[in-house]
Symmetry: C2
Subunit: 445 residues, 2 copies
C-alpha cells in the first residue's frame, strides 16, 4: 500500500505495522537509538532497555548504534558504536542521569518543507544499513519520530521507527504517565517536605514565606507532585500555582496572608508556567532595570517579591532548575523500571515489524499499583499535550485533590539508589567510539 | 573564685569546669536543650545525641526539656517536656532534618547591655530547676552560650552550659569540621555532578552555561564542596567563585569563554558571598527596577546574566537555598554520626561539671579517615570564623586543590538514608508537650 499524505496529520490511527514494505525492514538490519529534547534522571534507563534488548535480538538486529547528540548525530553521520561499550557500562546507564549519548533540541520540519533533511537521514540510514530507529523523547520528538516513520514510503527507504516516551513534564497523551516524571515528582515532593520543615523550624523569628519554583511550562504535573509533601490540612505546601489555573493576584495574596496568620508560615510551590488570565507568564511580568533589561530571576523570585511588597514578610526562594530533572540520586524505583520497560518494549515491537508506534504505560490499578506496557500510534501522540485535569486540582485552585494524590503516589514509589564511590554517585560515562563514516558528504545543520 | 569580668572577652581560656560553684551544679538537676540559628539536615541528630545521653544520666540529670524555638522558648518559659516523647520519636530525630524543637535567630546581648534577658533566663532556670544548658548552634550561638555559661557567677545561679556545634557553613574555628556541613557538602557535590551531566548532554544545541548558587555568605566551604563533583581536568564544575577570592569580572568572563570553547559548556558554582574587591557582594550589584527596587534574584542569576551580556551564551541557573541545608534524604553518614557524637559528648562533659566548652571533631587521619571528639573553651569559639584557606583554592582562584579534596572527601562519605513511606522520607514530628508554666510573669522579646 502507499501511505496517503494525510498520514502527516495527527490523530490518524496507523495500522501499517504489518504492511509489506515494513516487513522487508524486519530482515536483519542495524538499529539506531537517539535521545531527544530535555534529558531526565531515567532517559538512560530507557537507553539501557533499548540496547540490552536489541543486543539479544540477533536474529533481527545486527549492530546497535546511537546518534551522538540525538538526531544531530544521525544527520551528520556522527554515530556511536554501542557494541564497543562493555555490558557493565550499558547496565550502569540504568543508574546514570542525563543523556549519555547526548541529546538535542532539534525538530525536523515536515517532509514537504524540508525534504533535504529526510533525504540526508535516509542517506545515513542506507550507508549504515539501519532498519530500526528508536527515538527517545517527548512531544516534539514524537512528531519527528512520526515523520521518520513515514519516510519509508515517502522516500523509498524501509525503516521501522518506534518512539520511546520521555519527558519530565508528564504531558504526553495516551500514556498513564511518562518515564522521567516519577523521579522529578519524587525529588520535588521530598525537597518541598524538607525545605518546609526548615521554614517551620524558624518561622517564629525568621523566614515566613518560602517560594519554590519548579519546572512545567505548559502542564502543572511537577507542581502537583509537590502536593505529596503534605498529608493533612495545614501541612505544606500551602499553595501550589499551576499553569492550568489563571493567576489571580489578590486571591493568592489573601491566601498567603491567612496561611501565615493561621499556620505561622507559608510554603508556595510555583510552576514556571504560571500565567495571568491573558496568558502572560508571571516570570515575564518581572521588573526591568533602568535600561529596560528584563529582570533576571524566574517566576520564583517574582512571586516572592510580590508577597514581600504586599505583606512585608521575610522570604526565601529556591529554583531547582536542572537539579530536579537530573536528580538520579533519589529517582523513583517505579520510574526507573518503567523507563527500562518502554525501551525494551520498543525493540520488541520493532522486531515484530510494528512501525510508527510508541510504547505507553497502562495503569491497571492504583492501590495496589499495577501497570503494564501497551502501545499507541505515534500519530495520536505527536504534538499533543496532557494537562493536569481540573478534578486533580482543589476547588480554590491552590492544591491537589485526593484523586490527584491517588494518581501520583504510585509514581514516586520506591528508591532506586545508584552505587556510590568516595561519597558520590558513581555515574558512568560511555566510551562513545565513533562508527567509521561511510559518506563523503557533509551535512550542515 | 569569682569570674573576672574579662571573661566576657573572647580568646580567654576558661578552666572553670572544676571550680566549686560549678561542682554544685552537678548534683541532680534538669537539663535544657535549645536549637539556634539556621537549621541543618543533622541538627536533630545532635538533639538525639543530647537527649538519649541525658536520659541515661539519671544520677545527674532529672528531666530533659527543650526550648520551643530555641532561646526564645527559654526566655518565654515555653518549654517542651522531652520525656513525654516516645523513645522511637527521639530515635527518629536522627533521620529528620531541620529543627524539630524550633530554632531562632536571636542573639543575646552582653550582660552589661541587657541584664534583663539574663535575669529572665535565670528566673526560668530556677523555676524549672535547670542545671544544664545545651545550646546547639553556630558562631553567634556559641557567643550566647558563652554568656549563659557566665551568668552562674555574674548573677549567682549555678549553671553548666555546653555548646553543641552546628553550622552548614563549616566556619566554626577549632573543630576540624562542623556537623551540618558534611551533608550540605554531599548534596551540593551530587547536585553539581548531576546537573553538569544534564548540561553536557545538551550543550551542542542548547544551554552552554549553568550557574549554581550555593550558600556561604562569609566562607566558601559549601562552594568548595562542589569541586568534589569533578575529578579530572576539564570535568565540571569548571569555575567556583569563593567569598575568599575577590571577584575579577574580566578574568572570570575570560575563563568562561575559554571553557566553552574547549569543553563545549561551562558549569559555574557561585557562593552567595562572592564579592568585588571593595567588599560589595555581587548579589547587591544586581539590576534595580525603574522604582529603584533591588533586583529580585540572588547572585546566581546575576552571574548568569553577566555571562550572557558578555558572550551571548544560552544559560540556566539554579538556586538551592533551603533545599541544600535540609536535604536529609542524601545526608552524609559521617556527618550524621558526628552530629550525634557531639551531642552525646556535650552531655558527658556537662555531667562531669565541665562548663563553657564546646565538643569538637578532631581529625586523626584523612586516608583512612579517623576522627574523635575533643572539646574547646567557648571563649575561643565565639564570634570567630574559619574561612577556606588559600592553599585549598587553586592558584587561579577558580577551583579546589588536592589538599582541599583530601580535607573534604571524608566528610561526605557514606549514605544515611532515612526510612520511606509512600515514596517519601518518613520524617518525625515531636508531640511537643508543654511544660506547665511556673512563673506568673510574661517576658516580651
Amino acid at each position: 500500500m502507499r501511505y496517503p499524505f494525510r498520514l502527516l496529520l495527527p490523530h490518524i490511527w496507523l495500522t501499517c505495522g504489518t504492511c509489506d514494505a515494513m516487513k522487508k525492514a524486519t530482515s536483519k538490519k542495524n538499529a539506531l537509538y537517539a535521545q531527544s529534547g530535555g534529558v531526565s534522571a531515567v532517559i538512560n534507563a530507557s537507553a539501557c532497555g533499548v540496547i540490552e534488548t536489541a543486543m539479544r535480538q540477533s536474529r533481527h538486529i545486527g549492530k546497535v548504534y546511537a546518534g551522538r547528540d540525538g538526531i544531530v548525530g544521525a544527520l551528520t553521520e556522527d554515530l556511536i558504536d554501542v557494541s564497543r561499550e562493555s555490558p557493565a557500562v550499558i547496565r550502569a546507564l540504568k543508574h546514570t542521569p542525563a543523556g549519555a549519548f547526548g541529546s538535542a533540541r532539534f525538530k525536523l520540519k515536515g517532509i514537504e518543507q524540508n525534504r533535504a533533511e529526510y533525504e540526508r537521514l535516509i542517506e545515513v540510514f542506507r550507508a549504515h544499513d539501519i532498519g530500526y530507529f528508536f527515538y527517545n523523547g517527548g512531544n516534539d520528538s514524537m512528531d519527528t519520530a512520526l515523520k521518520v516513520s513515514q519516510i519509508g514510503e515517502a522516500l523509498g527507504y524501509p525503516i521501522i521507527c518506534v518512539g520511546v516516551p520521555k519527558t519530565v513534564d508528564n504531558d504526553l497523551p495516551l500514556t498513564d504517565c511518562c518515564p522521567g516524571f516519577g523521579s522529578v515528582a519524587k525529588y520535588i515532593a521530598i525537597s518541598t517536605r524538607e525545605a518546609a520543615l526548615d521554614v517551620a523550624s524558624m518561622a517564629r523569628t525568621s523566614t515566613k514565606v518560602f517560594v519554590f519554583e519548579v519546572m512545567g511550562r505548559h502542564a502543572g504535573w511537577i507542581a502537583a507532585a509537590a502536593g505529596l509533601a503534605g498529608r493533612k490540612a495545614g501541612e505544606p505546601p500551602h499553595i501550589i500555582l499551576f499553569p492550568e489555573i489563571p493567576f489571580d493576584r489578590e486571591r493568592f495574596l489573601g491566601k498567603v496572608k491567612r496561611c501565615v496568620a493561621e499556620v505561622g508560615y507559608c510554603v508556595v510551590v510555583v510552576s514556571e508556567g504560571t500565567a495571568y488570565p491573558d496568558g502572560k507568564f508571571l516570570a515575564e511580568a518581572g521588573t526591568r532595570d533602568a535600561f529596560g533589561h528584563a529582570q533576571l530571576g524566574g517566576v520564583g523570585p517574582v512571586v516572592a517579591e510580590m508577597i514581600r511588597e504586599a505583606h512585608g514578610y521575610k522570604y526565601h526562594w529556591a529554583v531547582a532548575d536542572y537539579l530536579q530533572r537530573s536528580a538520579r540520586h533519589i529517582a523513583s524505583k517505579v520510574d526507573v523500571e518503567q523507563a527500562y520497560a518502554v525501551g525494551k518494549a520498543a525493540v520488541e515491537l520493532a522486531v515484530k515489524g510494528v512501525n510508527a508506534v510508541m510504547p505507553v504505560i497502562v495503569r491497571k490499578s492504583s492501590r495496589p499499583y499495577k501497570w503494564t506496557v501497551g502501545h499507541v500510534p505515534l500519530a495520536e501522540v505527536a504534538n499533543r499535550e496532557k494537562k493536569v485535569p481540573r478534578e486533580y486540582i482543589t476547588e480554590d485552585g491552590f492544591g491537589i485533590t485526593a484523586a490527584c494524590r491517588r494518581y501520583l503516589e504510585p509514581l514516586v514509589a520506591g528508591e532506586a539508589y545508584p552505587p556510590y564511590r568516595d561519597g558520590l554517585p558513581d555515574y558512568v560515562r560511555i566510551k562513545g567510539a565513533r562508527v567509521r563514516k561511510r559518506l563523503r558528504t557533509e551535512f550542515k545543520l
